[in-house]
């Protein structure tokens, strides 16, 4: 079972925190801090597995993490999950985010936390892995977003316009227009005085 999924940046600020077991709010923040502390100490070329910190269950639980540019993606799991499998799952998650947000960066995660939650909800449910097929996940997320937009009414018009333009298939403008060799005779215009 996955106990928690945390995303935080290189300074420890949480970008996403999802707990699948109940902890009080204070404990949750402490767990985030403790996890950041443990994970940030790691070198670049060491393995991606760590024993869990004391707050989240000690040595029964493992922290499996991946570091992408400025973000750490940390999954805290217990012994019933395959460690290498979770490592692959993190990769699939990040690739899905990439597809949904088009070249995802940290700012996307900051400003669209709810969307990230929705994507995550399609992958992991109740601490268990639900779906790992990227296309399936994206299809469902798109369908849900469409449902939301259709309810938005007039207020959603600008958003719909934007997405309409995005989906529009403009024919390719040819880059080089070659009309062939045309010699144009320029008439001799008298100079006006």
């Amino acid at each position: 079972m996955i106990k928690a999924i945390l995303i935080f940046n290189n300074h420890g600020k949480p970008r996403l925190s999802k707990f699948y077991e109940h902890y009080t709010e204070d404990t949750e923040q402490q767990i985030i801090r403790e996890t950041f502390h443990l994970v940030s100490k790691r070198d670049e070329n060491v393995c991606n597995f760590l024993e869990g910190g004391m707050l989240i269950g000690g040595s029964d639980n493992k922290l499996i993490y991946r570091h992408y540019a400025t973000l750490y993606f940390v999954f805290c799991v217990d012994s019933s999950e395959s460690e290498l499998g979770i490592l692959d799952l993190i990769q699939v998650f990040v690739e899905t985010l990439d597809k949904c947000f088009e070249n995802v960066c940290e700012l996307d995660l900051i400003f669209h936390v709810d969307k990230v939650h929705n994507i995550l909800a399609e992958m992991v449910m109740g601490g268990m892995v639900l779906e790992t097929n990227m296309n399936e996940i994206i299809t469902q997320v798109d369908a849900q977003n469409k449902m939301e937009k259709s309810e938005a009414g007039i207020a959603g018009a600008p958003a719909r316009a934007v997405s309409a333009v995005k989906n529009m298939n403009l024919p390719e403008m040819p880059k080089n227009i070659n009309i062939g060799d045309i010699s144009i005779k320029v008439p001799n215009l008298p100079s006006f005085k």
Partner: protein, 792 residues
């Protein structure tokens, strides 16, 4: 900032705050605005507000006032509002909040909604935070959805069922038939969920194993399709077809095949196929191979297959990728108990991993190395382990030290080697060893009588070079005190001779006494050692006397007491000094810790009260008491288990029974009812409870409860629980029984020890539970005054 501004704008403002204080101010203003908005009846920006609240919650600020809003949003008809409402429910609500019950009805309605997305929201929320009551109510719905035609809903329902089974294991039976049928699905998501459900059902209830073993052929077929199918673009991860599903199925096969020959046979071919055909160059392939290896080792597979599995693990060990090495060591750890020889072949590689830079890999290598130590390789392994100890990261030191000690104890080829090893550990990592190392080492040294000379020389040398490691200092002082004469004689075959004068020895011990680095325990050791030397040396007895008398006015009470007593030994009891300070006899090994193990468990169970939820027994103080009494030569250590009970809430105590076995405690336990006045504190329906106080002192009282029964039928299951105010401590002894015979033919008595500082506060609330004439009853009585015994 307008309250209906969207989430992004608020995030931008928060990020713009330059200091923590500014951020707090911004968030507080926002929260106040959101709270005001929530109170308004109906407004369009509700979902925005809740989204903002959830963001604030993630940053760590309190957001509980949003709980009711979540409930309201979930009940709305708009999808966008439902979505954010459910997200809020998952983040803010949990089983302990009352608001979570309010959403049960909404979830129920949404589970039958026409849109699959709404259904999925409800399923997701139930799986994340569903409490036991919610699960019980909604389980039939989930079961219905398991048979739905939509595979999207089916897979979510399967995982929701897993959550329900985890919360309420009895409901597992409801899902067993559906789980079977789900295995014939084509959709990988549903298969995945079904396998997880079956795994959970089998783990919870072993009876399900028999039923699901029938599915083994089906599972094997699914695996075969996955492994032999060609490239399938949708499920492909790095060339392996749906490795997640493969890993899950392998794990389930492991559970089904354990201890069962028939199932194991059915899987053998498949496992061999997977093991040989999977490409392990990428993580995905390695994950599948790793799971296969674990399954092979766990079921009753043929030996050829097992050899193959261990070889695969060995190959993993040599892999460059650290992740793979970590994983292989984890799996070797699991099989080292059963297939010891196979793992021994890889000992060299494992020991090399001790020198890896990665702390996680080092930890695994340490544990595995400790497991691989055997009589044959003890010397070489110990060399490596000691080298590791000197360079290992601090968090692993104590684990390594205790592991080394255990290994040395089990396989030491000679006593001298053993002592050398322990000394080496103390010198390197003395600060991280456990406290019982010092007495253990001392006991070891006394047992090795021919090595006393060698030992004391080594210890002396260690002492004069460095007195930082306290455990080393303590052992050294003790030895020098005991065997100082051997040290001064100077001759020892096994070690280069060194001339040590009496002054040198006394200097060394005095340095320990006076140094700021010495703990009080070490100084105690040093003082006693100096005293012992007074009978073993000839010239400097006066020096010793002066040292001892100086410490007679030391601030540390322990040292002062020792010094004063030793002083007295010099002055008044000089004739006894030699006898008192002579060599200690060899200490017996069966002390501390070992006798408090299993023998204490069985008798404890008999005396435990009928309710299974009783009593946390604390063993720690008992250990210390036993050690003390052992030194006095008691062969039968008492099993004194006390549980300090202080409680203000009268309904919340558990009472424990303490086991009375030793003569020492019999004095307190077997009190006959003395002719002290007894007061009837409770009388109802024929059951009466009398109270009698004995042995009352200023700070403690012994109270005896006597329960008698004047009805026509027996009272069974009689149980007394007591609660006292915080300033009083309560210790309940075992009752004489739990059956009170009818018509006053017999009684049940129970003794209770109370200790307190102020007698005025002494009150007790007693709860009686019993069964009379088939009905279970519970009564409570408050006792405010205790009668004083006749003779106090």
């Amino acid at each position: 900032m307008s309250p209906s501004v969207c989430l992004q704008e608020m995030i931008r403002v928060i990020r713009g705050a330059r200091t923590q204080g500014e951020e707090r101010g911004v968030i507080q203003r926002e929260c106040a605005a959101i709270r005001a908005q929530f109170r308004q009846a109906d407004n369009g920006g509700r979902s925005h507000n809740l989204a903002k609240l959830l963001y604030v919650h993630m940053l760590g600020y309190p957001a509980h006032f949003g709980q009711m809003e979540c409930v309201r949003l979930i009940a709305s008809s708009k999808y966008s509002e439902k979505r954010i409402g459910y997200l809020g429910a998952m983040m803010l609500l949990d089983e302990k909040q009352d608001a979570s019950l309010l959403i049960t009805n909404s979830i129920k309605n949404d589970l039958s909604h026409s849109s699959q997305h709404v259904q999925s929201l409800a399923l997701c929320t139930l799986a994340c935070m569903g409490s036991a009551e919610m699960c019980r109510d909604l389980a039939p719905e989930i079961e219905r959805l398991l048979k739905a035609s939509n595979s999207y809903i089916k897979k979510k329902a399967a995982l929701c069922a897993v959550h329900i089974v985890r919360k309420i294991p009895e409901l597992g039976e409801m899902f067993t038939p559906s789980a079977h049928s789900l295995l014939s699905e084509k959709n990988h998501g549903v298969l995945h969920g079904a396998v997880i459900l079956i795994t959970e059902l089998c783990e919870r209830n072993p009876d399900n194993l028999k039923q699901f073993r029938k599915s083994v052929p089906e599972l094997v077929q699914i695996m075969k399709n996955l492994v032999t199918s060609g490239y399938s673009p949708e499920h492909n991860v790095a060339g392996i077809s749906d490795p997640f599903l493969q890993v899950r199925i392998l794990r389930l096969l492991r559970i089904l095949g354990r201890n069962n020959d028939a199932a194991s046979d059915a899987m053998n071919d498949l496992l061999a196929q997977v093991a040989t055909n999977t490409d392990s160059s990428k993580t995905a392939g390695s994950a599948v191979l790793y799971e296969t290896v674990l399954t092979i080792m766990d079921i009753r597979s043929e030996s050829g297959l097992r050899v193959l599995a261990v070889n695969i693990l060995g190959r993993f060990l040599l892999n460059n990728d650290r992740n793979i090495r970590y994983i292989s060591m984890t799996s070797l750890q699991k099989i080292v108990q059963t297939d010891h020889t196979a793992v021994q072949r890889h000992r060299g590689t494992i020991v090399d991993c001790l020198k890896d830079q990665d702390a996680s890999v080092k930890r695994r290598a340490l544990e595995l190395s400790l497991a691989l130590v055997s009589a044959a390789n003890i010397r070489s392994m110990m060399k490596e382990l000691l080298l590791f100890l000197s360079t290992c990261p601090p968090e692993l030191r104590s684990h390594a030290a205790s592991g080394i000690f255990n290994a040395a104890e089990r396989y030491a080829p000679s006593q001298r080697w053993h002592i050398d090893t322990i000394l080496h550990v103390l010198v390197t990592a003395g600060g991280d060893v456990r406290d019982e190392t010092v007495p253990n080492l001392i006991q070891l040294i006394t047992a090795a009588s021919e090595l006393h000379c060698y030992t004391v020389h080594k210890l002396y040398r260690a002492l004069i070079s460095d007195i930082v490691q306290q455990s080393l200092v303590q052992v050294a002082c003790w030895c020098i005190g005991e065997y100082g004469d051997l040290l001064l004689k100077g001759e020892c075959e096994e070690i280069t001779p060194m001339q040590v004068t009496e002054d040198d020895v006394l200097d060394a011990l005095e340095t320990v006494l006076q140094s700021h680095m010495s703990t009080p325990t070490s100084r105690g050791f040093a003082l006693t050692a100096i005293m012992k030397l007074s009978t073993r040396i000839t010239n400097n007895v006066d020096r010793i006397r002066s040292v001892v008398s100086i410490y007679g006015s030391c601030i540390d009470v322990e040292l002062q007491q020792r010094a004063v007593e030793y002083n007295a030994l010099f002055k008044k009891y000089d004739h006894m000094r030699a006898a008192v300070l002579e060599r200690m006899p060899v200490i017996d090994r069966n002390s501390s810790g070992q006798t408090n193990g299993d023998p204490s468990v069985e008798p404890m169970k008999e005396f435990n009260q009928p309710k299974p939820v009783q009593g946390v027994l604390i063993q720690e103080p008992a250990n210390q008491v036993c050690d003390l009494l052992d030194l006095l030569g008691d062969s039968n250590p008492p099993l004194l288990v006390t549980n300090d009970h202080t409680s203000t809430a009268p309904n919340s105590t558990n009472s424990t029974s303490s086991n009375v076995q030793d003569n020492l405690l019999d004095l307190l336990g077997g009190l006959e009812p003395t002719p002290a006045p007894s007061v009837t504190v409770f009388e109802k329906g024929g059951l009466s409870l009398k109270l009698q106080c004995d042995q009352q002192t200023e700070t403690s009282t012994t109270v005896t409860f006597t329960a008698s029964n004047s009805t026509q039928s027996d009272i069974t299951g009689f149980n007394l629980q007591a609660a006292v105010p915080k300033s009083v401590q309560l210790q309940m002894k075992a009752p004489s029984g739990d059956l009170i015979p009818a018509q006053g033919c017999g009684t049940v008595t129970q003794t209770v020890l109370l200790s307190y500082t102020n007698k005025a506060n002494l009150k007790m609330r007693v709860r009686l539970s019993y069964s009379s004439q088939g009905t279970a009853c519970q009564d409570m009585v408050q006792i405010d005054s205790f009668p004083s015994p006749a003779w106090s």
